[in-house]
Amino acid sequence: MAKVLMKGNEAIAEAAIRAGGLVYFCYPLTPQSEVAEYLSRRMPEVGGAYLQAESEVAVANMVYGAAGAGARAWTTSSSPGISLMMEGISYIAAAELPAVFVNIVRTGPGLGGILPSQGDYFQAVKGGGHGDYRCLVLAPSSVQEAVDLMPLAFDRADRYRNPVIVIGDGMIGQMMEPVEFKQPEFPPLAPKDWATTGAKGRKPNVVNSLYLDPNAEEHLNNLLAAKYEKMRREEVRFEEYNTDKPYRVLLVAYGTTARICKTAIAQLAGQGIVAALLRPISLFPFPNEKVLELGRKAEFLMSVEMSMGQMVEDVGCAMGHERPVYFFGRSGGNVPSPEEVVAAVKARLEGSKS
């Protein structure tokens, strides 16, 4: 199929439709409202369901209801809206429902601003809602990758019966890039024989997250933990860049920041400094073993983020005390420039000499 030039938010919307995400609920919020605008036109054309809800709290619970009835349900929002959805996401995880949440991250905390940020890493990766649960978290670094990850997100949501978060910063949502819609093939999925579709000729199905018996609750927690363990084994995704030759510095960055790091690596090469990049695509599960393997070949690691330092904690955790792990980031909607990354790397290199 020929490439088309599309804005990230619209491309995500179209990719979801092509992946069968035909039930969509939303609440307007910058910088992702174009998804809703696009789908309000497009969903009726493809026989899907589109509804603008009264709040993000309601949105997440509409997704719960529709997913519980067996639909491929999803939504998009941005940081403050995703905070409001956390109740629903916790319930969806507990009730083991498949659903996809796209977070086009803006700055925070609080109302923050509408510019790009990666400040929701902790919220996406560590839980965000209450209780012992995890979401599979996928982080595209281009519009094309966002389009490619949407079918995967829906497939994995169904396969694991678990919420999947696709996390892109405002840049991914707002940028226009040429995209191609591929139709990836996945192994067949199990029938949704747990869904509430009417108890015709079978025992009633109950979609539930209430467990008053401590042993029953612990049993659920164990089931969920086993699922997350399987994700850790089978769903780690990353990109290595410039790691095929000896390097002094390993940058770790995801999303838009990873693209900036690639430019910084070229600039560093011009100054005779070899740096490499590890770009996590899955933020949960995090590529811990890859961090360790690649980190050992470097003098130090640097996590580059549009935040005050969140993923750096996971990089540090994966690396242990074997190598220093540093952080460089900008926040407030400021996007780090390649020059700033270069300067941060050089400052650490010079610091390690003294």
Binding site: A49, V57, A58, G70, A71, G88
Partner: protein, 264 residues
């Protein structure tokens, strides 16, 4: 031999956990009888709330989803939008619907979502142990209004039927009671109308049921029915608030919106 009386198929054989004298059991039974009578059990999804009826899925013999506190109308919206052929009802208490779920119920009603709401109003938070609800009566003593509900401090009880009736969209709104056999018979008829309207894909349907809570009211079951009659019925009139009527295309023009004057 003709069967005159039997347990509804739409109820399980489980013994309920409801307190003696509580009218949840009657309301469950009426909903189940109506679903059976209309032949809807195999295509119905119920939504259990947070509150005393959180375990409703153990008592209704049909598919169920359990909602977060107040969010049952959002779940029902999701279900009906995704699968319009299913029949869906929420079963919600007054804390769930009229307090934490006020946003969800008002907007679901205003969109005209085609599900049925069974709103059980017993003027108190039951499951959490008798705290003040938005529907608690003036002067009523609860564990969080130990000197009685002070309307100067926390306002008057919320009348949900009246509030929702101010919206143009919702098609069927009625308040019933179940503390005497006469009221029970009427309540069953009203619930049946609501499910019929949903089955025919007509409108949003809302049935408020005045209910007793002897345990948390600190009364015997008999005293509780008397208290309901003397205190709740005068404040919460048992009546129809909205009959479903087909809208003519003309009535949908902006100038004919009720309460908006014609230009010129």
């Amino acid at each position: 031999m003709k069967t005159l009386f039997k347990a509804p198929e739409a109820l399980t054989k489980a013994a309920t956990h409801y307190c003696p004298g509580c009218t949840h059991g009657i309301i469950h039974r009426l909903v189940a009888e109506v679903i059976d009578e209309l032949g809807l059990r195999e295509r119905t999804v119920g939504i259990a709330p947070v509150g005393c009826s959180v375990l409703a899925f153990n008592y209704f013999n049909m598919d169920f989803q359990q909602a977060a506190h107040g969010r049952a109308p959002a779940l029902a919206t999701g279900i009906k939008r995704a699968k319009p052929d299913l029949i869906c009802f929420t079963y919600q208490g007054d804390g769930d619907l009229a307090s934490i779920g006020m946003g969800e119920i008002v907007h679901a009603a205003n969109r005209g979502e085609k599900f049925t709401v069974v709103f059980v109003n017993n003027a108190i938070y039951g499951m959490t142990g008798g705290q003040m609800a938005p529907t608690t009566m003036p002067g009523q003593v609860t564990t969080t209004s130990p000197r009685g509900r002070n309307v100067k401090d926390v306002g008057y009880p919320v009348r949900m039927c009246e509030l929702l009736s101010s919206l143009r969209t919702p098609g069927f709104i009625e308040r019933v009671a179940v503390h005497t056999p006469q009221y029970v018979v009427k309540a069953r008829r009203v619930l049946k109308s609501a499910f019929e309207l949903q089955r025919d894909n007509k409108c949003f349907t809302f049935v408020e049921v005045l209910s007793t809570c002897p345990t948390n009211w600190g009364k015997t079951p008999f005293e509780a029915t008397k208290w309901l009659e003397e205190n709740m019925v005068p404040y919460y009139p048992v009546q129809n608030f909205k009959h479903y009527e087909e809208e003519s295309p003309k009535s949908q023009t902006p100038n004919s919106i009720e309460g908006v004057g014609h230009a010129g």
